[in-house]
């Protein structure tokens, strides 16, 4: 008997271990990968991106990076890094294995040599390199190692006479317009035309004053008001430009609602938000105590990745949030920590073909994330839909569903395709799983009409029969009552 029990216990333990083994697969990445559902609940998902390599300056043979702040990926995939602490710009080959160039000095047209002082931002376009040369208070445009343009001391009636121009981030569109985020410039992104003249501010974020704050301002004296915190808009933190000249600009939103803007050429925000009206990274922000796990995400950089997809980098919890052109949150990955593939102090994000790069200024390493099958399928489906090819997108969504049944976006995508194809009943099933109420309503209406059309014959017949039967019954009763009127109680 005891032997039997021991055997049973061993078997049970073995079964438990065997059962637990596949679950351990979820722990292969050193961070949480999740998404939010229709009700803003966290739903864990497969990893869309897994950690690739950590590339340090020592590995590349150019000495350790120091506190680098800016990154840009050129059209050919070359990676430009503003190595702030070393006063240089490092250009890496797309494979991140070899160095194309290290620019630590350049020459002016008159032949004199010059260098950078703590450059924070860099942009590359049309073979030119735009450097936000922060401590020299200028933006330098280089062709190779020759300066071709320079933006310094912008003057305008919009600016204070003693305005101190400290550029932090720089971006440039196809027309040569230069966008600059400057320190303590709350009025917006500064724009400069191709002749280096200051045009104006761009994409100003309006200050939000709550009714409660306004109420207290009414009751405070002038002295009190002078000592109160100023109501100033949040600063922009990062920039990227898409091929059509739309500027993606990230900012820190203290309410966690909108941390990125898509600005059209006249500076209006034309970004689209998804079902939950949120573009602020994490949604449920209220932890029991004030830890790093409470409070809104601090989005410090944005990377446009093509096909309407863009990714945001959160410096609070080291997460990378990816949205599509409709504002749907596609996937979340990344985290703080000490393992390979996690951040200590993330500063900038960039995107190559199927790889996401991020800078960690504490480790002084470039951390790469490689696309998984799950991430690739989502990217592919979103790209197909962006191109208007919903029918092909369905195939990709189906494969996504095999990997993650809970993805509402995939269900809704399939449902919409069925709706277009005319299979309303199946469309209803998928749209309900995808929590897409507006399209479900359309599918439901069509399905209801179909059912009515098929069944209207016997339904009307039944109705007619009922009416005839009722009339007959009434006349029968009347005749009966007429025959014996005295006995009628009813």
């Amino acid at each position: 008997m005891p032997l039997k029990r021991v055997c049973a216990a061993l078997l049970l333990t073995a079964a438990l271990i065997a059962g637990a083994a596949p679950a351990a697969g979820a722990g292969l990445v050193p961070y949480d990968t999740y998404n939010y559902d229709y009700w803003d609940f966290i739903v864990f998902t497969p990893a869309a991106y897994v950690p690739g390599r950590s590339v340090s300056g020592v590995d590349l043979g150019i000495g350790a990076f120091q506190n680098f702040q800016g990154m840009c990926v050129a059209d050919d995939g070359a990676v430009y890094i503003a190595d702030t602490g070393n006063n240089r710009i490092v250009i890496l080959e797309p494979d991140l294995l070899s160095v194309r160039d290290v620019v630590d000095s350049f020459s002016w047209p008159d032949g004199s040599a010059d260098g950078f002082a703590r450059p924070h931002g860099v942009a590359a376009a049309d073979g030119l390199m735009y450097v936000a040369d922060t401590d020299n208070r200028r933006v330098v445009v280089l062709d190779g190692r020759a300066a071709v343009r320079v933006i310094r001391n912008p003057s305008s009636e919009l600016l204070d006479a003693n305005f101190d121009f400290v550029p932090l981030k720089v971006a440039v569109d196809y027309a040569g317009r230069v966008f600059v985020i400057a320190r303590n410039m709350f009025q917006g992104i500064m724009t400069f035309d191709a002749d280096d003249n200051f045009i104006g501010f761009y994409g100003t974020i309006n200050v939000k004053i709550t009714l409660w704050q306004r109420f207290w301002r009414v009751f405070s004296t002038k002295e009190e008001r002078a000592r109160q915190q100023l109501f100033i808009p949040t600063e922009f933190t990062g920039l990227d430009v898409d091929p059509w000249g739309f500027v993606y600009a990230s900012n820190m939103d203290s309410e966690g609602v909108q941390a990125v803007r898509r600005l059209n050429p006249s500076g209006e925000d034309v970004i689209r938000t998804g079902e939950n009206q949120n573009l602020g990274g994490d949604i449920e922000l209220f932890a029991a105590s004030a830890s790093v796990y409470s409070g809104p995400s601090k989005i410090i950089d944005v990377a446009y990745r093509g096909q309407g997809i863009y990714s945001l980098l959160d410096s609070q919890r080291g997460r990378i949030f990816t949205y599509d052109h409709e504002g749907n949150l596609l996937y979340i990955f990344g985290g703080m920590g000490h393992q390979a593939g996690t951040f200590r102090q993330p500063t900038a994000i960039g995107a190559q073909e199927n790889r996401i790069l991020a800078l960690d200024a504490f480790r002084n390493e470039i951390i790469t994330f490689e696309e998984t099958r799950y991430g690739a399928l989502i990217n592919q489906a979103v790209a197909l839909r962006y191109g208007g090819d919903e029918a092909l997108a369905v195939e990709a969504w189906r494969e996504v569903l095999l990997l993650n049944e809970n993805l509402e976006l995939a269900n809704a995508g399939i449902g919409k395709a069925y709706l277009t194809a005319g299979d309303n009943r199946t469309a209803m099933r998928y749209l309900k799983l995808g929590m897409d109420k507006s399209h479900y309503a359309i599918a439901f209406k069509r399905y209801r009409n179909e059912v009515l059309k098929e069944n209207i014959g016997w339904m009307l017949t039944l109705l007619l029969a009922a009416v005839v039967a009722y009339a007959g019954w009434r006349s029968y009763r009347r005749r009966k009552r007429g025959r014996a009127p005295a006995g009628g109680l009813l």
Binding site: W39, K432, K437, S438, A441, I442, F444, K445, R448
Partner: protein, 210 residues
């Protein structure tokens, strides 16, 4: 038990729907009301409410089914209506109201009947409507609620023999009384909790020393 569910009493319960003034008068003065029937009405309401939250059509239903707990909702409805009855009773006692607590409970319960009866059909209707037709659903729901409010108003007015203005003032005061009741209730709960913690700490202290 049978005397609470006589044919006549049930008749007056449904009579409330069509002839509220007359029926409420009979309930008050000819003792035709029944507290168990009133409780049944409230039970029906809570059941219809929960069923509506779970089964209303996908297009009109914005409730996460995972957050619906029927027992909890029933408890909440009974608690709120009970609070209303006690609050109304304590206010009307001071304001020359003629109704007894039993009448107030009966009237409050009966007044829930239209909402309880219309929520079911509204739920069924929501299963066959598409977007753009949600107004029909809203009308049915709104009609049930409006009818219930009117019944509650006339009921309170009739059993206390009040004018309409006085009824409205009383209902406002009832709301205040409910808040006070909740406040006192919380105070008592906290007091009991503190007393319990005090006694329990004495007990632990003793246990450690023995």
């Amino acid at each position: 038990m049978g005397k609470y569910f006589t044919r006549e009493r049930v008749g007056y319960m449904f009579g409330v729907l069509t002839r509220p003034l007359h029926s409420f008068y009979e309930i008050r003065h000819r003792d035709q009301g029944s507290v168990p029937l009133a409780a049944l009405c409230v039970f029906l309401l809570s059941a219809a409410f929960t069923l509506n939250r779970i089964f209303a059509g996908f297009i009109v239903n914005d409730v996460n089914p995972r957050t619906v707990d029927g027992l909890e909702e029933m408890g909440a409805i009974f608690l709120i209506l009970g609070l209303f009855c006690v609050g109304n009773w304590s206010v009307t006692c001071l304001m020359d109201g003629e109704g007894r607590l039993r009448d107030i409970v009966t009237v409050t319960g009966y007044a829930m009947l239209p909402a309880a009866l219309l929520l079911g059909p509204a739920t069924l209707l929501s299963l066959v409507i598409a977007e753009g037709e949600t107004a029909f659903y809203a009308i049915v729901m709104g009609a049930g609620i409006a009818w219930t409010v009117i019944l509650l108003l006339t009921g309170v007015m009739t059993v206390h023999n009040y004018t309409l203005l006085k009824t409205l003032v009383t209902l406002g005061l009832t709301f205040v009384a409910m808040l006070i009741l909740v406040f006192i209730g919380l105070l008592i709960l906290d007091l009991i909790n503190q007393a319990y913690v005090f006694l329990y700490s004495i007990y632990t202290e003793l246990i450690f020393r023995i």
